[in-house]
Amino acid sequence: MALFGSDWSTYSDLALAEATIEAAGATDTFGPSINGSGTTGTMGHFCYFEMDGNTNTDTTKPFDFPINGDFTVAINATAVNTDAATTLDVTVQGSVDGSNYVDLASKTDILQDSDGTIDTVVKTAVYDYDAKGRMPYMRLSITAATASNSTIIIAIIPH
């Protein structure tokens, strides 16, 4: 299991015109901050996720924002045309010590193979806070069914 997500940023700092994520490295983040144009929204958080050309299970960095209720997960939030049409298994994981994680929401709760490919498609799911809870460290675990080298945007929008 490896880490292939960038730092989390607020969604208001993502300007679509500059979000040429196919050319971006996994750890790049984009500016500028809110400037009156090019801002796609002010709610939520995003990270870049590099699908590293294999089908191993990879993870994002832990959320650096509080979870106090349900939240929406958007996978491939900008509908990038990925270089290979792949499905993803996505779970939400939690940890107390920051190193040992357990699934809080399974792939059937978030995204799984049978939900179809993410190629040019935004996939969304809602994390059920009442049913699944929260832990000090939370992150997404992502497993691709088909190897892809594309970089996608993952968004978390707290409700």
Binding site: D97, N100, L104, K132, G133, R134
Partner: protein, 314 residues
Amino acid sequence: MSIFQDNTNVYKNDGTWHSSPWQPFYHKMVSRYIDETSGDSLQLKMWCCEPEWEGTELYIEAAHATSTGGDILTRVSYPGDTLANAEGDDYKLGTQDTGKLTSEEAHDDRTVKHWFAPGVALQLPDGTHATSTITQTTKWSYTPTSNDIGEKIYDGGVHCWMKFPYNTVASSSTDAQTYVYSKPFPMEYVGNSDILLVWNSFGHQVRREVNTLDVNTSISLEREISYMDNPGSGDWTVKGAGGIIMNDVDVEDFTGDGVTGVNDKFMIRNMMALMEGVKNTRLKMYIPDGSFTEARLLRSQFIRVSLYPINPKS
């Protein structure tokens, strides 16, 4: 709220030490390597996260045991090389039986550990050989200092340590040795909210006793409730709906989903609902007499249990 409030000897085999008090915080884990004090050259990676161990010498001894075909940690004790507070159950460096766990999961390049005391863990160096690392009696001494214990974290949850049962239900041991209980949940922190329970939140690598062959090792975990203000031992009952948290779960089989079976970190989580209307809640853990002959678990094992109230009601 001392971890030694029930007994200063956490290895006491009469069942008087079951669990530590719940605490609304934890200390981050900090590690350091220690060299052996005598015997073979082998560093251990030590972890400590309980300030009460500060200044106490923890002693670890290993040997090569021909009879069991492997290298074994034969004793842990404190303070120092004393038999007063000691656990002599053997921790085998290699596999315990064909198809069963190896200690590799608790090597120092992994995240799971061997918590051999409440708040103290060790990891073997990556590549430690199962049968040829230890050639002679080898000893280590570890005395945690304040620098070995990380910062205090108030994370919104409450946490305790629980020891695995001394023996199985079918062993004819006393109830105190067979059934392990947590302290009642601190209602001032968790209230009557739904609670996310995390069993083994600090990633202990579960092991069974060293020489059991082809038998199952499982754990049952139940939620017990009481409507009494100060319940005695006979005032508890298993919660009806939702009271069975783990039912005869093979806790060595770490291929589960973390809900019905332990995951690759030996963890399980459970959302406890219907908390309203009870005065007290606690956890009961035991090794059931299932459809197989059950083996007991290694005795020097302590797991962290964490509770996170969800939707606190004001």
